[in-house]
């Protein structure tokens, strides 16, 4: 008995010693490099757009060996993502932590009043922008935005719009549509984009503003019909998806009389107080990620707007987006009291 125990103690001590010996072996190069696994915070639940993007990045980094240390995606979705933002805000001086953002970077603090602002974080890069498309059930007669708006007007306030969460991007867009057309919708919040799309397929609601990748499979299955995209210009993807139509064939909402543009940030931030070296490392990493075929596939499948920004340009964009959200949410009465 004692002999066996001695042996296990020995193994334990040996293992401990081995770790000690390996630890200080860090290369003496000038540029900063992560020395520990990088925590990749996702301020949203598993299976959503941000989650899928973060996990794809994790896969790309490990498959192409873009970094010596692994990436660890961690979901912190509590309080509409507030939990994740507060976590990164509270990790000042720890450069081994980055966060992927969606519009809740602005909407969550504005709607709930939690003590957080994007300026608390260090901006790294904009990876892409997510599009929003106006979808209706394919069995419904309306084929253009005008027919749809007329039908909504005729329904006299009983038209239902489903979207993800409350006082977040989907509801902001809904508010803007109401404003620009004078139609009144009933907004029904759901937990995730997939559930929103299914409610529309099942005929429980009349329209949605799903992101392309949340609804594309139902479009291909002939259940949903896109009416317009809330972007300044049509999407560039020309491969046919359904009935010979491609993403590029979807008209922009402005041209259809719906005066609204909205794009959602898929960007990266890191902890407060990160140095330029550290930010540059991550920028370089994401440049490499964007060059891989896997990333290109993700962009094409989700019909993303592939804008990429860093540095001042990125900061300016985010500041402008925050102002815009503040105005939109103020007009809709969504600000926390």
């Amino acid at each position: 008995m004692t002999r066996r125990l001695d042996k296990s103690v020995f193994i334990a001590v040996a293992a401990f010693g081995a770790t000690l010996a390996l630890a200080p072996a860090s290369p003496a190069s000038a540029a900063w490099e992560p020395t520990r696994p990088v925590e990749f915070i996702i301020p949203a639940g598993t299976g959503g757009g941000a989650d899928i993007m973060a996990r794809t990045i994790q896969g790309i980094v490990s498959k192409h060996n873009l970094m010596k240390q692994p990436v660890l995606p961690i979901n912190k979705s509590g309080g509409a993502g507030g939990e994740g933002f507060l976590d990164v805000k509270g990790s000042a001086g720890n450069p081994h932590k980055i966060i992927i953002t969606l519009s809740n970077l602005f909407t969550t603090p504005l709607a709930t009043g939690i003590p957080f602002n994007w300026k608390d974080l260090t901006p790294v890069a904009m990876l892409a922008l997510d599009e929003f498309v106006l979808w209706v059930n394919a069995e419904k007669p309306y084929k253009t935005v005008k027919e749809y708006i007329d039908a909504a007007k005729a329904a006299n306030g009983t038209f239902k719009m489903a979207g993800t969460g409350s006082k977040q991007e989907d509801q902001i867009i809904t508010e803007a549509i109401q404003k620009s057309t004078g139609v009144k919708f009933i907004y029904i919040p759901e937990k995730g984009g997939g559930a929103v799309a299914v409610q529309l397929v099942g005929g429980h609601v009349d329209s949605t503003v799903n992101n392309p990748n949340e609804a594309v499979s139902h479009w291909r299955g002939g259940k949903l019909r896109p009416l317009c995209v809330f972007d300044g210009k049509p999407m560039p993807y020309k491969d046919p998806i359904a009935e010979g139509k491609s993403w590029a064939d979807i008209p922009v909402c402005k041209s259809q009389g719906l005066n609204m543009e909205y794009l959602m940030l898929r960007g990266i931030f890191t902890t407060p107080g990160a140095t330029k070296d550290q930010v540059d490392f991550y920028i370089d990493l994401f440049k490499k990620v964007r060059a891989t075929p896997e990333w290109q596939d993700l962009m094409k499948n989700g019909a993303f707007n592939q804008s990429f920004m860093t540095g001042d340009e990125y900061v300016k964009w985010v500041a402008a987006a925050e102002k815009e959200h503040h105005e939109l949410m103020k007009a809709a009465g969504f600000l926390a009291k």
Partner: protein
Amino acid sequence: MEEIGNLFHGFSIVLQPYNILLMVIGIVLGVIIGVLPGLGGANGVAILLPLTFSMSPTSAIIMLSCIYWGALFGGAITSVLFNIPGEPWSVATTFDGHPMAQQGKAGEALTAAFTSSFVGAFFAIVVITLVAPLVANFALRFGPAEKFGVYFLAFCSFVGMSKEPPMKTVAAMMIGFALAAVGLDEMTGQLRLTFGFTHLLTGFDFLIAVIGLFGIGEILLTMEEGLHFKGRAAVINPRIVLQTWKELPKYWITSLRSSVIGCWMGITPAGATPASFMSYGIAKRLSKNGRNFGKGEIEGVVAPETAAHAAGTSALLPMLSLGVPGSPTAAVLLGGLLIWGLQPGPMLFVENKEFIWGLIASMYLGNVVGLIIVLTCVPIFAAILRIPFPIIAPIILVFCAIGAYSVNNSSFDVMMMMVFGVLGYLLKKCNYPLAPLVLAIVLGDKAEEAFRQSLLASQGSLAIFWSNGLVSTIMALGLIALFWPLISEAWNRVRSLATAA
């Protein structure tokens, strides 16, 4: 029979040695994940997802779905042995599984749990194979009102049956509902009951409450009664599996009923956890041994395990055909499909036949392989109870803490778990029922959400819960379940009057 042909083609893919190896690896990893509380199937699947990039999608989904099966099996182990549910859907398994272990029948309880899991999952796979397209269309009929109906039904079939004083049941249940309400209100985007305390943003997670109330509470109760497990006298005999098998066919009605309940709850988007509670509640009411439920009745293990697995399996179908995940694990799997360039949705069944039938075939084989692996380990698991309590107890505490931490990566949750632990001890000593509290935390916010979504859609009219045949039927069933004790009593009286006359 095109489906049968497809299925056999699927088997031929799955039976390649490489894929069988992946299957075994997946199951073993899954069991480990299921055993360690807090390390959910979602972790395992998420972490291995990037590793699967270099495999074909079919091989990858075989391995990942086998982790899912393994986790389903593994959740029962700690429930039975230590009263700690490794996964949410094994909570109901503790009700009778742990008393059985305390009576020295851990081997029987585990065998019953594993076998029932297998039966439930197998039933669900057959349903998927035969009626996949029908099921997908049926799931589409579930709007907010119908969803609320399903939660209502699950709740009604479980409550109103405890031995504890009714006012204590009410208090426990309402505490559960109140805890479920803490955090962000999904309907208005407002924070509620957080009192400016940012740790409460996430609310009270069900798993943390359960690990505390059941797991820690049980350790405290054991300490009070002396420093040993009651179940250490467990007979460890490899033949225990066969002996238990001889007994199980007696409960075929319970198995069948639980399988049906499980499939129903998996296809409607309620999920495995409510399914297990509902099945347990109904079995308790309908079984002739109902009075002994909670004291170590093998039927009380069969019912929730069968239903949980039938639900967990059938939930994969709406996920694949509609793209709506039924659980965090399923959500990550769904993300995996996208990463591999497959789009979940109706077209998946048309365009990626090889993938779908490979998956379905792997469900059949994965469950068989899983059953064999876990059953051979039953004596090993039962032997864990022989480890002296002062050694195993702190290790259990540590794993409870790790489990509580990894739900939200929050140290605050670890403290909450400890508070729940002391609370669980006090509540149990003062004769408060814990099960309604836990069920209220699971169903509370979902039911409230569905209720309020329905009222938004109907502009405040409650008539929406009786607005079509489907929702009316579900609600009526719920009411019958709620008033079942009264109904059965009235029925007995009528019968006795009739015989007297």
